[in-house]
Assembly symmetry: C2
Homo-oligomer: 331 residues x 2
């Protein structure tokens, strides 16, 4: 590390890109955000990514800094080894060789990574999991995804698709998931599932309890009541205040999440589970009942520490910087 070295880091999401110049010691010296505007199509998004990255490298030089490497993380299925964004529903990527495109454009060593795995990497190395060698990072937002990080390295899987904790079966008779299968964890415990379920129950309090739902118990279409949907955070707050329907929905989500985390612990046996994403901001309203429900489910397994993410929505961008630095070390 030379004084003045920085890496260029981009975390590309469905709606926005978080971008930064980051020193090797993790200090962010400059940050900016740009809209992704995914509706323009993958080619246009790639064009923006390259222009923003190039602009950041130029800004570094203008400030007397030396950009040494580039890290980009994107959602979906990412083949880190080949540097290809294989597939992404919300950005529209299909087999985009983003690493080589960016490397050619900027003339810098470039790493391409997966947003959740990079976020997990950052939480495990410099965030809430930094004291543990074996960490499971779980991001709970619109969906649920995880990163299993051992000794500072996130498992990618054979095809860049590891860590899909949102799509493990927890309720065989549960709602049909966006992926097409019934009972996936994220149909019950994601922030959007909590909001949707609460809206359903508010419209029809007699709606079946999902833990007993019949195998064809798809989520009912919501009646058009013209109301704004109550968010998961608000459901958590109403549950904490003792509201009956909110309590029921929140309990269903917490129990499903505990089932999912217990499965993760049975397979991964980690020291620390770090919860991130919007739902994790529910604080004690989530962590207290979840910790108790998880403890109930752990028999012979060792109980992991269950902690809130420390890096907020910067985790992905910091992870992109770590991947860029790792790339330099490998050379």
């Amino acid at each position: 590390m030379i004084d003045g070295d920085v890496v260029v880091a981009l975390d590309v999401g469905g709606t926005g890109m978080k971008c930064a110049l980051i020193r090797p010691d993790g200090v962010v010296v400059h940050a900016e955000r740009h809209p992704t505007d995914a509706g323009r199509g993958a080619d246009a998004v790639v064009g923006t990514i390259l222009a923003v990255a190039d602009g950041l490298a130029g800004k570094a030089r203008a400030d007397g800094l030396t950009p040494t490497a580039l890290g980009i993380v994107v959602p979906g299925v990412v083949d880190e080894a080949r540097g290809v964004a294989v597939w992404s529903a919300n950005v529209g990527f299909r087999d985009v060789p983003l690493r080589d495109l960016a490397s050619a454009r900027l003339g810098l060593p470039t790493a391409l990574g997966h947003d959740v795995r990079a976020g997990g990497l950052a939480e495990a190395r410099i965030g809430a999991g930094r004291d543990a060698e074996h960490v499971l990072f779980v991001a709970i937002g619109t969906g649920i995804a995880a990163a299993h990080v051992v000794a500072g390295s996130a498992a990618t899987g054979a095809h860049g698709a590891a860590g899909e904790l949102g799509h493990i079966l927890v309720r065989p008779a549960g709602p049909i998931c966006g992926c097409g299968r019934p009972g996936c964890l994220e149909t019950i415990a994601s922030a959007s599932a909590v909001a949707r379920r609460y809206a359903e129950l508010t419209a029809d309090p007699e709606s079946t309890d999902r833990s007993d739902a019949t195998p064809d118990g798809r989520s009912a279409d919501l009646p058009d009541t013209g109301r704004t949907m109550v968010t998961a955070a608000e459901v958590a707050a109403r549950a904490a205040a003792g509201e009956e329907l909110a309590t029921r929905v929140w309990r269903e989500a917490v129990e499903a999440l505990a089932d999912g985390l217990a499965t993760g612990q049975a397979l991964f046996d980690v020291e620390t589970i770090v919860l991130g994403g919007g739902l994790a901001q529910a604080g004690a309203g989530l962590f207290d009942p979840l910790r108790a429900a998880l403890r109930d489910r752990l028999t012979f397994h060792r109980e992991p520490r269950l902690v809130a993410a420390a890096l907020g929505d910067e985790a992905g961008c910091l992870g992109a910087a770590l991947l860029a630095l790792d790339q330099l070390e490998k050379r």
Copy 2:
């Protein structure tokens, strides 16, 4: 590797120990089996392990060979890093520092490992998974356990307890597992679960379908009919011959197993799943419907190859030898 070098390998099970002298190229030059006789207590079992290992090293020397290292694998929870057999129900170990005991007795570099992880290591490196970088080995017998092997190294977890695929939730309303929780995979899909369920249904064909069982639907105690229990292999054969109850039990097991493997694939994203243990010997009667059921469950995931284990019941002992050789390489 010097001509004449061998490692001493022991696979200690609840009933027997498989022991061998194995050359660095994997050729078994001598094999022997001994009863574990676990009823004698952990101290006596440890005594036998040390005596057998010492005897094998002596036999190697008497044959003009040079024993260079020792590998021992045991069931239960194994802390590979510390070399401690932490806990084992069927051998009775509680925090036994087996690696150091053996190393002191034989004067050889010693590795202690976990039987299923070692079996998975052997299948991944020199068995049915040898062409893949990412392998999930699943052993299905009395229970179900797995080993996730990436680049020839099996994940151990933070406390030596990774890979407990038998204890992931697949049927929330299912039978209570030996571990105390309802609906674990091995309550439906292990060889003993298949045999037990068939015996239940033969005694009472009206017995509830477990996919709809109530949450308190514990396995009924079997009536004492004096009959010998039909094995899982025989249930598979009867299902193949079209017998109704056998077909039902086998289908339940295959579907639960497909759910478990789909969860494994969502989290690990492997190229190859290797099935071992007694149930895997059912051949096409297992693999054909299981492959179809797994394919049904995989939506965005890549479908792994599903293959039968190649090393039979020697996998654990070969894995012990590989751990011993790894130990030498590390020095």
